[in-house]
């Protein structure tokens, strides 16, 4: 069936270290979206990638969409305590959006 898989499920990093989460789709996607959910909060849209091989940056965050449009990654450089939360990727499958299970990022001071 339609699946969006994210790894790792959890990640603990020291403040200042880098962090990467990976997203893989069972099928080719027309686009992929990334969301961040703070503890106790709701998902907040970060970015949408559409083109094969696309790379977008938002300050310390770098998003990539694979050439085959089946995988994506989010990389955070020099993590800060404000980066704590769960990062979800999501993609359209037909007319539905399917979310991955997310990667929970915990920052060690």
């Amino acid at each position: 069936g339609q699946q969006v898989m994210q790894i790792p499920q959890y990640q603990h990093v020291q403040e200042g270290e880098d962090f990467t989460t990976y997203c893989n789709s069972s099928t080719t996607l027309s686009n992929i979206q990334w969301y961040k959910q703070r503890p106790g909060g709701h998902p907040v849209f970060l970015i949408q990638l559409v083109k094969s091989g696309e790379v977008k940056k938002q300050k310390r965050l770098t998003f990539q969409f694979g050439e085959a449009k089946k995988n994506s990654s989010l990389h955070i450089t020099a993590t800060q305590t404000t980066d704590v939360g769960t990062y979800f990727c999501a993609g359209p499958y037909g007319d539905k959006i399917i979310f991955g299970k997310g990667t929970r990022l915990h920052i060690l001071p």
Binding site: H42, F45, Q48, D95, K96, I97
Partner: protein, 114 residues
């Protein structure tokens, strides 16, 4: 510019009861989608409403139903509640029916079924 609002914030029900959750979309948005998010999981798509009709549906039983009003606000109804229905219910709005559009989420309703 008001974002997506949901009510109530929290709700406690017992098995077998019925519940209605409410959502007002972001200003300028006409499409509302509902998601169920169990603890430690990603949001699961329930259904989407546009022009007061259910347009798309995820893998949820008929106990889950909804409605959209002329002002684009929406309700999610769940009948015959089960313990497994305990979750955060999220409403998201977008400006058109395409599911490729950004989802603007509300704060959610935390439902606990005892």
């Amino acid at each position: 510019d008001a974002g997506v609002t949901q009510s109530p914030t929290h709700l406690i029900k017992t098995r077998g009861q019925q519940v209605t959750l409410r959502c007002s979309p972001k200003s300028g948005h006409d499409t509302v989608s509902w998601y169920q998010q169990a603890l430690g999981q990603g949001p699961q798509f329930i259904f989407q409403y546009y022009e007061e009709e259910e347009r798309q549906r995820g893998n949820f039983p008929d106990r889950f139903s909804g409605h959209q009003f002329p002002n684009y606000s929406s309700e999610l109804n769940v009948n015959a509640l089960l313990l497994g229905d305990s979750a955060l219910y999220l409403c998201a709005s977008s400006p058109r029916t395409s599911m490729t559009d950004t989802q603007y989420f509300g704060p959610g309703t935390r439902l606990t079924v005892l």
